[in-house]
């Protein structure tokens, strides 16, 4: 197969470049030997390789598909596939399939949810808890992010940010355990309260909504902090100075300038934290009690027992996915619109 001339010329150029070895000019080129090619030069000169490349990269259109085929296949298969299959399974009456019996289509799995309070309650509890925890995280981290973005000198910001980042590299289980040690009846908090004489006997923090909240806020606060920080950091100081020059007090400046301009960070932080906190399984199991069962535990229950409960579990997981994504979608819409309204 004839190659375009440009390539050949180019290759000659490449070869001469490597023969001259510009990185080691002191070393003389060995005489009597053909110019040494490196791996890539050799590859380009290889006929089989060229033949394959000529077929693969014949024109723009083909190049596009060569590059696109694998990512598209992967994304559809591995990213969308599991979710779609979960939806599909949720409408079957049995899965995994047993030999000699065809699964039948049914909506019973979805109906089952609305018939039992032990299903509906954890579901609602998950949504309420996650919303409350998200709000707590926002209130807790907003001043921290503000301090970091506006009060810390730019030179030191990285260091201060790093200090916040380090605990978040530690995994969910280890940090949950750390909270258990903090809040236990013989934990650090009870000891501290006792030693300053506030209490006589330990307060049972553990296995309540409180301990779960402390744990989840502890786990998720970074996902709120980072979007807030990057939104606050973008607000030019001159805006705040202008507002101050026009006579706005600090509360007024916060309310009318900082808060509206950081709205995007608030929206994405809240979305992330809400989605993540609905998905925790180990933390509620370890820190929560019988009265704080969340939906993740309900769903997991169907997958612990072998066999025929999978479709119900799939239906419940689908329901939760639709609800959480729907709620965050509505939330983002609302934030976006009112954000624009405030900007005018």
């Amino acid at each position: 197969m004839r190659r375009p001339d440009r390539k050949i010329n180019g290759m000659a150029h490449l070869e001469s470049k490597y023969a001259e070895a510009p990185c080691a000019p002191a070393k003389p080129v060995r005489s009597g030997k053909a110019a040494r090619r490196n791996f890539w030069g050799g590859l380009l000169a290889n006929d089989t390789y060229q033949a394959v490349v000529d077929v693969l990269l014949k024109n723009e259109r083909r190049q596009f598909w060569v590059l696109a085929a694998f990512p598209l296949a992967w994304v559809l298969f591995a990213h969308l596939g599991p979710v779609l299959q979960m939806f599909w399974i949720s409408f079957l009456d049995s899965y995994p399939p047993t030999a000699g019996r065809q699964p039948q289509f049914t909506v019973d799995n979805w109906v089952a949810f609305f018939q039992e309070a032990i299903f509906v309650m954890p579901f609602l509890r998950t949504l309420v808890y996650s919303a409350v925890f998200t709000a707590c995280t926002l209130i807790l981290t907003y001043p921290v992010a503000y301090f970091l973005a506006k009060h810390v000198k730019r030179r030191n910001q990285l260091l201060f940010l790093l200090l916040l980042l380090i605990p978040f590299w530690v995994g969910e289980i280890v940090r949950t355990y750390a909270i258990m040690i903090m809040l236990g009846n013989n934990g650090a908090l009870n000891l501290a309260l006792k030693s300053i004489g506030l209490i006589d006997r330990p307060i049972p923090f553990m296995y309540t909504g409180f301990s779960m909240g402390v744990g989840i806020v502890y786990l998720t606060s970074l996902y709120m902090l980072l979007p807030l920080y990057s939104a606050l950091e973008k607000i030019p100081n001159s805006y705040l100075e202008a507002a101050a020059d026009l006579g706005a007090g600090s509360w007024h400046r916060f309310r009318k300038v900082t808060l509206p301009l950081s709205r995007e960070g608030v929206a994405s932080g809240c979305t992330l934290v809400f989605l993540i906190s609905t998905g925790y399984y180990a933390t509620p199991v370890l820190l929560g009690g019988p009265s704080t069962t969340v939906f993740a535990e309900t769903i997991a229950g169907f997958f612990h027992v072998a066999g025929d409960k999978w479709p119900i579990g799939a239906a419940f997981a689908s329901l939760m996915l639709i609800t959480t994504l729907g709620l965050t979608g509505i939330f983002l819409k609302l934030m976006g619109r009112s954000g624009k309204g405030l900007m005018k």
């Binding site: 969308l80 001043p143 970091l148 009060h151 590299w169 969910e172 940090r175 355990y177 013989n186 705040l240």
Partner: protein, 262 residues
């Protein structure tokens, strides 16, 4: 801003830092307690729990298992994520936004749902619960992060670099390996370490996709359910030190990336 709010803000910041660090510090300290009973106050000290963990063949085996999963899933995520980024980044086509949304999907699905969906999926393509299933699950979860980081880096690559390589005779494939890939290196290191951390720390996917062999977080979870003991503190501390070291390394290479970009 008035001085009072400034002081108040810094107090809140440092209080928050204390809130983040105190539980972890207490956990490390508790591993030195000379008693089987977890709780304060600590009266006697010992290093037996730590040395015990180091000599425990089971824990070390589980550690190696977790590490193998983290390495394999990180490698796969990097390859796939980079490929996705190189396709999604520069090309414009109809439906690009949808493909982008689907690419990010595994990163926004709540953990438990992702784990359940992957469990069903693995059963559907006949992968037994175990190492392979966990690697698949972690790869699916990590690809979005790699793709996003690589896309960000790719957008700063000057077109002229590639054009120069092409003029010098490289075809698209050689140009990718000799120009694009070296340029992406800091992003790949940062994203790779982040993937290692995500995989090594992950509980919920490993728990539902795993077979009889536990990963490290699953082992700690199982031990916790049967009761707290300083032994768990020692294991958790080893995990903590390792992940913090990895994280610091990732941070350093990411900072170099930002310097290179500017």
């Amino acid at each position: 801003m008035t001085r009072h709010t400034r002081i108040l803000m810094s107090v809140i910041y440092w209080a928050f830092i204390v809130y983040l660090f105190v539980p972890l510090v207490l956990m490390v300290v508790m591993g030195f307690k000379d008693s089987k009973f977890i709780g304060f106050p600590i009266r006697g000290w010992t290093t037996e729990w730590y040395s015990g963990v180091m000599q425990d063949a089971e824990v070390m085996g589980v550690f190696a298992y977790s590490m193998a999963i983290a390495l394999a899933s990180t490698f796969l995520s990097l390859v796939i994520g980079t490929w996705v980024a190189c396709f999604l980044g520069p090309y414009k086509f109809r439906g690009k936004l949808i493909v982008f949304a689907v690419t990010c999907l595994p990163a926004v699905i709540p953990g438990i749902i992702s784990a359940i969906a992957l469990r069903i999926f693995a059963r559907g393509i006949d992968i037994e619960p175990g190492m392979l299933a966990i690697i698949l699950g972690h790869t699916v979860h990590n690809v979005p992060f790699v793709a996003l980081v690589v896309m960000a880096r790719l957008s700063t690559l000057p077109r002229s670099h590639i054009e120069a390589a092409r003029d010098l005779g490289a075809d698209a494939i050689v140009a990718f390996f000799r120009v694009t890939l070296p340029y992406l290196r800091p992003a790949l290191i940062g994203a790779g370490i982040f993937c290692m951390l995500l995989s090594f720390d992950d509980f919920v996917r490993a728990y539902f996709l795993g077979g009889y062999d536990p990963t490290l977080p699953v082992l700690i979870f199982a031990k916790l359910r049967s009761g707290m003991s300083p032994e768990i503190n020692a294991i958790a501390t080893v995990v903590l030190v390792l992940t913090a070291a990895l994280g610091l390394w990732a941070e350093r290479s990411m900072r170099r990336l930002n310097k290179g970009a500017s």
